[in-house]
């Protein structure tokens, strides 16, 4: 509810397979093709372990797993797996030290953020006690899409970052999604 209040779109699936089906369908619906401006980039994550990336790329041409910043900049959709979700502010948090995590979540117009349902914590204090900042070079917290109100105080979504944030909670398999990224 808190996430939706800040213009995020929230979905929940009981299995990784169901989440994947939703994502692939979404990519097609959004017109992802193998053309600049229409790519989708999916940053390395544990969720992908059980799927064959090559097959996925064949299913949706234009979906890329190994990508440069130029490719990310030409992508319509970026997909990452987040490490935590924070209930009381509707936020997501991620160890975003690997640069592809930041590229995929900040350059495209749409950010799809996967998160394991059991990684939901109550609030920021409980999250900050769970992490060791000296082991995380770039801790990223995301609360809704990119926004501004700098022209006449009119709230406008999607300035420099994504204009849509789609959060996908996956209920299982918990173990496999525990650590989002390697």
């Amino acid at each position: 509810m808190r996430a939706e209040a800040v213009n995020s779109e929230v979905h929940r699936f009981s299995s990784g397979g169901a989440a994947l089906d939703f994502i692939l369908q979404f990519l097609r619906k959004e017109g992802i093709t193998d053309n600049p401006g229409a790519y989708a980039v999916w940053a390395d994550c544990r969720f992908l372990d059980r799927f064959d990336r090559k097959q996925l790329s064949e299913k949706v041409p234009g979906l890329k797993f190994d990508f440069s910043r130029e490719t990310a900049a030409e992508s319509r959709i970026g997909i990452t797996q987040m490490d935590w979700a924070i209930a009381n502010t509707g936020s997501l948090a991620q160890n975003a030290t690997p640069v592809e995590q930041r590229l995929a979540s900040s350059l495209p117009l749409i950010h799809i953020a996967l998160v394991a349902t059991d990684k939901l914590v109550a609030g920021m204090p409980s999250l900050l006690t769970k992490i060791n900042p000296t082991e995380i070079g770039y801790m990223a917290m995301i609360t809704g899409p990119s926004r501004t109100a700098d022209i006449e105080r009119v709230l406008t979504i999607g300035v420099h970052g994504p204009e849509r944030l789609i959060i996908i909670f996956v209920d299982e398999p918990g173990e496999q999604m525990k650590a989002a990224n390697r």
Binding site: R2, V6, S68, R69, A73, N88, T89, G90, S91, T97, P98, V99, R102, L103, S106, L107, M124, P125, L128, T129, P133, T134, I136, G137, Y138, M139, A140, M141, I142, T143, G144, P145, S146, R147, T148, A149, D150, I151, E152, R153, V154, T156, G158, V159, H160, G161, P162
Partner: protein
């Protein structure tokens, strides 16, 4: 006051977009801020922030060392300096060594403070601000008018013109479309820049981390895409521990924009990978620029607790009218005045400090518990100490400080005003005084002052006695309020004493920074008021009550006058405002309000000193309701009326529009009576309604209640 300064005020007041957009934001802000803080104990939170920031300000040296060690262990390079010039040189050196031709910046007040952009541009490096508001300001060649909302003074038409020029295409004023144009234009700059410059909201000593809050996502790109990241951080952003992030993170977005959290928070600890696999060149500049000196000043140290949320601007009745450009400097509003006095120089704050009306709104909402009004008074005091009072001030104070002369001047005035006075009001004054009655009528000075009336009133001899401190307005203009206080106290079995030697409470001198004058007033009053068998010193003027209760002590303390402190404390212990005492007497059954009366509807105006210094809010409302009046609350009942003592004489151009808002809010309550506990507010509001010909009764609570006791 210089002509240019007055002109800049008038220009701002006549900029409809500024007053429109800023006014709307400010009016909506209070309610949305409260909503954002729902479920949070604000007092506990801000106490925690004040403590952790105050601790940091006391340990700047240690924390800077610790931060440097920890950040460098993680591969960052930390540069510490007191000098803005050295910051600029350092950045230029890095840029030159790495062949940097273009820089993208996310918001950094510290970089504005040292005028970094023009410096880099002069040296052939192109700099792009990427925060949308900052970019608009950069394209317009202006200065930000608000710390959080830099371009709030500009219309979408002006923005469309600027962007059209920038992209060589005629753009419409459709805001989402303009934002898209900015996105694509700046995206190219992001991808091509060799260096990213950011500020930071916190620097954590324990871990060497920096914390950055943004809504637009520009800081994520600034810290990700270029291979070099330079963070310019004022050393007051240091906090000791990682757990200190939470309270600041809880307060900053709520206080700044009434958000639970900004869209993005980045915590960066050391070097991170670039897109080509190399590690980022991370330079962290800890800039002092007189902050350590500030930390060593016992008064101003607390200003380093500031987390730059700008809530003091958002609730300020003056800022919402004039915006930030009037302040002429980087930091604006209440806290900006204080920072300018330090980061720039004391003298530079001379004019802008006079904008403060001392309403205390900012102090109430400050998430770092900074007593901004008090620090502005301290600036005034130091200015007067350094430069002496102005000639007008000197003339006035020489009269105020001589009670006999002061009182006889007022008596003479009551005679000379006769041609201008009608029904107890002065509606027009000739020549150079005309500005004073342009937006409100002034009360005529009473033909018989209260001190003379007092002697003619026959009181029963009663056992309990209380001293009445009238204050100038009740003594010489609103004598009826004094009579009401007396008659009610007599009914409660209290005999009123009026020591003739009481004089001005010293507030006018104090609020002008003339503490020596205020101290003399305090001494005269203390001598007059400390009468052995009188348990209470009662005042029906909150400014006087605040003087009696707090400011005599504070003035002596500021001047290092220990000798008078014990007696000042004695006065403070006995002093009480009328409503608080009255409520107590009613609760104790010593006074009984007539029952079953239907006295009609009223609205209540909370005077600044009553609500925020004396913490009196419910008492007068409850008394009036008990007396059979029906309360209708107005919008912003506790917003200043624009009087501010001599403020309305010094800055009538600001006082008048503040009053207009107050009058509108009272009118919109649709009631025949507005009550208040302050004769100064009565003067302002009654004068305003008289001028516009509105028949709403403006009355002091004491007078309204007088006839309602058994």
């Amino acid at each position: 006051m210089k002509k240019e300064f007055r002109e800049s005020i008038n220009k701002a007041l006549h900029n409809p977009n500024l007053t429109g957009a800023l006014g709307r934001f400010s009016e909506a802000y209070s309610a949305s801020r409260i909503k954002a803080y729902e479920g949070i104990d604000f007092e506990a939170l801000r106490t925690r922030i004040a403590e952790l920031k105050s601790y940091a300000a006391s340990h700047l040296e240690v924390l800077a060392e610790l931060f440097t060690g920890n950040a460098e262990a993680k591969g960052a390079r930390v540069f510490r300096t007191n000098s803005p010039e050295k910051v600029r040189e350092y950045i230029l050196k890095i840029a030159r060594e790495n062949g940097v031709g273009s820089v993208v910046k996310s918001k950094s007040m510290a970089s504005e403070e040292i005028h970094l952009n023009p410096f880099l541009e002069e040296h052939g490096i192109s700099v792009s601000e990427t925060d949308l508001g900052e970019w608009i300001i950069q394209l317009a060649g202006q200065r930000p008018s608000h710390m959080v909302l830099p371009a709030i003074h500009m219309t979408k038409e002006e923005v469309a013109d600027l962007f059209s020029k920038e992209v060589n295409e005629r753009l419409s004023t459709d805001i989402p479309r303009l934002v898209k144009v900015a996105r694509s234009r700046l995206r190219t700059k992001f991808l091509n820049a060799e260096m990213g410059i950011s500020g930071a909201n916190m620097a954590v000593a324990e871990t060497g981390s920096i914390v950055i809050f943004t809504n637009e996502g520009n800081a994520r790109l600034v810290t990700t895409l270029p291979k070099i990241h330079v963070a310019i951080i004022g050393i007051e952003k240091l906090v000791a521990g990682f757990e200190d992030i939470v309270p600041v993170m809880t307060a900053l977005p709520r206080s700044a924009t009434a958000q639970l959290l900004t869209s993005y928070v980045s915590i960066i600890t050391g070097q991170i990978p670039n897109t080509d696999g190399s590690l980022k060149d991370l330079h962290i500049i800890l800039m002092d620029n007189r902050r350590s000196e500030m930390a060593a000043d016992p008064k101003f140290k607390q200003a380093l607790q500031c987390i730059r949320c700008a809530s003091c601007l958002n609730v300020c009745p003056v800022f919402r009218l004039v915006g930030g450009h009037v302040f002429g400097k980087i930091y604006t509003g209440g806290i900006g005045t204080i920072l300018t006095a330090w980061f720039d120089e004391l003298k530079k704050s001379e004019e802008i400090q006079s904008l403060c009306i001392q309403c205390g709104n900012c102090k109430e909402v400050c998430p770092a518990k900074i007593d901004i009004p008090d620090l502005i008074l301290e600036i005034r005091r130091r200015l007067v100490k350094e430069e002496g009072p102005s000639l007008t001030q000197k003339a006035i104070f020489s009269i105020v400080n001589n009670r006999k002369l002061f009182h006889s001047t007022l008596r003479t005035a009551s005679v000379t005003q006769k041609p201008f006075a009608k029904d107890g009001l002065i509606r027009h004054l000739p020549m150079f005084l005309s500005g004073l009655t342009e937006f409100r009528s002034l009360p005529a000075i009473a033909a018989v002052p209260f001190r003379d009336k007092f002697r003619r009133i026959r009181q029963p001899k009663l056992k309990e006695k209380a001293v009445f401190f009238a204050g100038c307005l009740i003594d010489f203009a609103y004598t009826g309020t004094g009579e009401a206080v007396m008659s009610i106290l007599n009914k409660a079995g209290i005999e009123v004493l009026f020591p003739d030697k009481q004089t001005c409470c010293g507030a006018p001198a104090r609020y002008s920074g003339a503490y020596e004058v205020a101290a003399q007033n305090a001494m005269d009053n203390i001598e007059a008021l400390l009468i052995e068998d009188a348990g209470y010193i009662i005042s029906a003027c909150p400014t006087c009550t605040v003087a009696l209760k707090h400011e005599f002590i504070n003035t002596f303390e500021s001047l290092g006058n220990g000798e008078w402190l014990p007696r000042a404390r004695k006065v403070s212990g006995r002093a009480t405002d009328f409503s608080t005492l009255l409520k107590k007497l009613v609760d104790e059954g010593r006074l009984t309000l007539k029952k079953g009366e239907h006295a009609g509807k009223f609205t209540f105006h909370d005077s600044c000193h009553v609500k925020r210094t004396l913490n009196v809010h419910g008492q007068p409302r409850e008394l009036l309701k008990k007396a059979g009046f029906e309360l209708v609350e107005m919008f912003e009942s506790d917003m200043c009326c624009g009087m501010g003592g001599s403020y309305s004489l010094k800055l009538p151009e600001i006082s008048a529009p503040i009053l207009q808002k107050k009058l509108r809010n009272i009118r919109e309550a649709s009631v025949p009576i507005v009550a208040m506990d302050c004769p100064g507010c009565v003067m302002q509001i009654r004068g305003g309604f008289d001028k516009e010909g509105t028949a709403i009764k403006v009355i002091h609570t004491a007078e309204l209640l007088e006839q309602h006791f058994e």
